[in-house]
Amino acid sequence: MRIVVNREALLLDALGAAFWPAESALIVSDLHFEKGSSFARGGQMLPPYDTMTTLSRIAELFARHKPRRVIALGDSFHDGEGPERLPEAARAMLTGLVSRCEWIWIEGNHDPDIPEWLGGRTASEIAIGGLVFRHEPLAGAAGEVAGHLHPCATVARRGHTLRRRCFVSDGVRLVMPAFGAYTGGLNVRDPAFQSLFGTSYLAYALGGRRVYAVAGDAQLMRRNIIEESHPSIPAIRTVDMP
């Protein structure tokens, strides 16, 4: 699905990445590589396949969009020692992908130091055209593309719920979904999003083959905050690709 953020056209991919054709840039956020082994260190032996799963999805994006540039919006590793724990195959695949294009690691709160041997370059934030890329969103920052919050939308309809990762945008700024295989989510109706978007925004939920735009507040389930509801609005309204 094509959306416009601060006058720049972006494609939202159903895998949870954004592609910026004008700059041939692929944007992914919160990869959280090696989250599985991070938990294993603490005694919970989560299946050790998260990094490979995440990487093969990125490879799929490479095949689809053929990007010249990749911007990883921070929290690329679940913790600072993540890069050292990469299994052999994952290490090879990741460095291979990084060497194929201009790879920019934006620093996140989980992974302040990306080691040099991984390749690519590191920045705390970067501005290109009308957009600025950083990990943690700042209030009132027009043109900002950020991650960090792991937005999820819960849609309810006749006793069934669907919880999906989503993009959140009001046309001025964009919050990316977390891309990593084990990343959980924060409901878009959490106050954290309100301070960024107020009440007028669209959530773009990841479907199997495409992204679905679901309207803001009234259609989404929320935890933590409640306000007057509008039951007359249908539960799901999809917006077709222009």
Partner: protein, 825 residues
């Protein structure tokens, strides 16, 4: 030798005098248990309630302990008692004090449950009581302690209460494994199992004793004297029997009457929502203000304790309850049991009737209240079975692998173990007698490193090998994590439901109505209406751990809350119902409307013979229907519905939906389904690829996986820092499931999940049995309109959607039109 002397022989004088002073004489089964115990044999006592069963279990221990002067008694547990309910353990301890003190035995009797304060736990370890009463979970925790060998070194007896309710479940698996450990620590002890009447005691007899490498071992068996035959009445009028529904509101005046005539009545229902609504309805009719209380699992524990206490004092005339009172404390005063809705199984009915703690020589009185026509048949079948002394047997399940992994960790926490030795020990537990070495080794690997083909977690291993080849825990932290997360009961996360005033801001407080499953509440949007605590409520939103609702005058609830039976109809009872359908001469006892219903069904379609599966197709409105009648219970029908709609979709029949009840499955579609190849449609191969594809996305399956992941410790309920909320656990377990399924479909946790689902939520085992049974015996009737037998299933569709005050009006129209059509000859 005179008879009396012979009978009393095993009783020491102080006991014989005590019995005499009470004006009692010891029952034959009590004496038999003493003899088995004196011979050092383990024994199972099968007896109905009210036969002095618990005392029978303890008598041998009391006699042994009485023979030793208190000062020369070992400072060690002599007898260990395990109950499924902590309340029962506490109650039994209290009841045991009486004979012990009256005979001056000077015993130390203590309980150890989740509520026992830490100081007392510590003291118990240093100074163990003579008799310790506890639960399976607490027993495992005791065994995980380093000084378990010392603590249990002098153990002489283990008593397992309500064994029929424990075995064949994950808690039973946990207990069986704990017993296998105890056998190693205290090989000298003997066991007594106490059970309600069961069809086949053999699995329980095996449970009680260590299983040999080859063949099977059974404990001794003592059958208690059967009580007088119960008197079972079925309440069904010749004037009106509803077509569908589970509430039996039309019968409430008669139920109220029955309560009025009895001293104390237990009113059993099958689900929480039924309990709520029956309670409301009875109070509406309760002109004399009789003290009638409500008891179900969603009420706050203090509330339940209050009801139990009032009941024990004899202050109540009736309690409306769910299976929460199937087991537990005996109340002498109960003289009537009323079962609303279908009994679901003959053994369950016997158990419930037995809750009227009658004297053995007097019949217990029960009243069955069917809520619809199929339930009339089910009640008749259940009554016949109970009076004929026939019961339904359970499939004996294999020991669960997730429970095994928890036990392995428990053992490792107590001390390093040798895998060969532990494997042999585990196999002595009857649920694990057939455990393969591969499954065991996989379980050990799982505990150590997650057991993945990709060996990347070696350096974080929770278990490591000592130079001697023993497995030990890698750090004390592992023990802490085990203790925090031990146990096999995984509860659905619940939220409080709070009622707030209209127009007030949401979350501003309100009276607590009770608790409901978070997954249900989360599925609601603000403005949705649903039923809880007997009224239609409007959902306003969730804040923190509470859902806020307001009252609404909206007569109909939009969202059906789960209303079906919690227990599936037993296979045994189902086959009796099928028999009854096929034999018109058995219909004489049925109320007129039910008999008429069946006769017209015979005219318009057919009644299937036992062993046959009837499939009917007909158009109605703008849709085409296919209704089949497997009688295999809602769970199996739901799975069947999922699989059949997948197939019908491939056949381009454009299915729109399906509804399952205990007896039938109805599917509706846009295309005509009358010329289907039914043998092919119902072929067993649907349990292959179709099932596999469906499992990948099934929410029920993911929930089963979540339970296995929690029990096995893959996902921790509690971390050392803070408790995770249920929501977080749920979400992340779905991600694990997807990734694991993609990379290692044969992983031990996925195998455990499949076995669980096969017998549990999806009832695949039962479905598979049915598909085999009906092969080549499917009879089809392509009708021009709805058949009488199909009406209840079709009504379920609309009934699930509406409720409340106006539902009768609303439904009557729908129902009348449908019935007119069906019953037109």
């Amino acid at each position: 030798m005179n008879l009396l002397a012979k009978i009393d022989r095993p009783l020491p004088p102080v006991f014989a005098e005590w019995f005499a002073a009470k004006g009692w004489s010891p029952r034959p089964h009590q004496l038999a248990l003493i003899e088995h115990a004196q011979a050092g044999e383990s024994v199972l006592l099968v007896a109905p309630t009210g036969g002095g069963k618990t005392l029978a279990g303890f008598l041998p221990s009391l006699i042994e302990l009485a023979g030793v002067h208190p000062r020369s008694r070992a400072r060690a547990v002599h007898t260990l008692y395990v109950s499924p309910l902590k309340a029962l353990a506490v109650d039994v301890a209290r009841n045991l004090e009486m004979p012990a003190s009256e005979m001056g035995l000077n015993l130390r009797i203590e309980t150890r449950t989740g509520d026992t304060p830490a100081s007392r736990r510590q003291r118990q370890k240093h100074l163990p009581p003579d008799i310790l009463l506890t639960t399976p979970e607490q027993l495992s925790l005791l065994l995980s302690s380093r000084d378990a060998p010392r603590f249990f070194s002098k153990l002489r007896a283990v008593i397992l209460d309500e064994l029929h309710a424990l075995h064949n479940s994950k808690r039973g698996d946990l207990l069986a494994l704990a017993l296998s450990r105890l056998q190693t620590l205290a090989p000298q002890h003997r066991r007594i199992g106490l059970s309600a009447t069961v069809k086949d005691p053999a699995p329980l007899q095996r449970f009680l004793v260590p299983q040999p490498r080859e063949g099977e071992a059974h404990s001794a068996l003592v059958m208690g004297q059967g009580g007088a035959k119960p008197e079972i009445d079925i309440l069904a009028s010749d004037a009106y029997v509803p077509w569908a529904g589970h509430l039996a509101h039309h019968s409430m005046p008669e139920v109220m009457d029955a309560i009025r005539k009895a001293k104390t009545t237990l009113v059993f229902v099958n689900t929480r929502s039924q309990a709520e609504r029956t309670f409301q309805e009875l109070w509406r009719l309760n002109e004399d203000n009789l003290p009638i209380a409500l008891h179900h699992g969603s009420l706050a524990p203090e509330q339940r304790r209050k009801v139990e206490a009032a009941m024990a004092k004899g202050a109540l005339r009736a309690v409306v309850c769910t299976s929460t009172l199937d087991l537990g404390i005996d109340w002498g005063a109960v003289d009537k049991v009323i079962c609303i809705g279908a009994p679901k199984g003959a053994a369950r009915l016997v158990q419930r009737i037995g809750r009227a703690n009658h004297r053995l020589d007097e019949p217990s009185r029960a009243l069955l209240v069917p809520a619809n026509r199929f339930e009339v048949l089910e009640c008749e079948a259940a009554r016949d079975a109970v009076l004929a002394g026939e019961l339904d047997g359970d499939r004996v399940k294999k020991g669960s692998l997730d429970v095994l992994t928890q036990h392995i960790l428990c053992v490792a926490v107590s001390s390093p173990f040798d895998a060969d030795v532990l494997y042999d020990e585990v196999k002595t537990a009857s649920p694990y007698a057939a455990l393969s070495r591969k499954d065991f080794d996989d379980a050990v690997e799982f505990v150590a490193t997650g057991g993945y083909a990709l060996k990347t977690y070696e350096r974080y291993a929770r278990l490591r090998r000592t130079p001697e080849g023993l497995w030990r825990i890698a750090s004390p932290r592992v023990a802490q994590q085990y203790r925090l997360n031990a146990g096999v009961i995984v509860e659905d996360p619940m939220l409080e439901v709070r009622l707030q005033g209209k127009g007030r801001p949401v979350g501003a407080g309100g009276r607590v109505l009770g608790k409901m499953e978070e997954y249900f509440l989360e599925s609601l949007s603000p403005g949705d209406t649903f039923i809880f605590s007997g009224e239609v409520l409007r959902f306003e939103g969730i804040r923190e751990t509470a859902a806020y609702v307001t009252r609404t005058r909206d007569p109909e609830a939009q969202i059906p809350s789960y209303n079906g039976g919690k227990f599936p109809l037993s296979t045994f009872l189902a086959s009796r119902v099928r028999e009854m359908l096929a034999h018109p001469e058995q219909w004489r006892t049925l109320p007129d409307p039910v008999g008429e219903w069946l006769r017209i069904q015979e005219l318009r379609s057919i009644l299937p013979k036992p062993g046959q599966l009837l499939v009917e197709t007909f158009p109605r409105g703008s849709k085409e229907y296919l209704v089949c009648y497997p009688f295999e219970g809602r769970l199996a029908h739901q799975t069947l519905g999922m699989l059949l709609t997948r197939r019908l979709e491939r056949l381009r029949k454009r299915p729109l939906g399906f509804v399952a009840n205990e007896y039938a499955l109805a599917i509706w579609a846009l295309s005509d389904m009358s010329r289907l190849d039914l043998d092919k449609l119902f072929d067993e191969d649907m349990l292959g690829d179709d099932l596999d594809a469906w499992l990948a996305e099934s929410m029920l399956y993911k929930r089963t996986f979540r339970n296995c992941a929690i029990i096995s410790g893959l996902i921790e309920r509690k971390t050392l820092n803070a408790e995770k909320t249920g929501r977080q656990v749920n979400f992340s377990s779905d991600l694990m499931y997807d990734v694991l399924r993609a990379h290692e479909p044969d992983h031990i946790l996925l195998r455990a999940t499949y076995e669980d689902a096969a017998s549990g939520l999806l009832d695949i085992a039962r479905l598979s049995g049915m598909l085999k049974r009906v092969k080549g015996r499917i009879v089809v009737r392509n009708l021009d309109r709805v058949s009488p037998l199909a009406v209840p299933a079709l009504l379920e569709i609309s009934k699930e959607m509406v409720a409340g005050e106006a539902r009768d009006e609303l439904l009557r129209e729908t129902e009348e039109a449908l019935v007119r059509d069906a019953m037109r000859v």
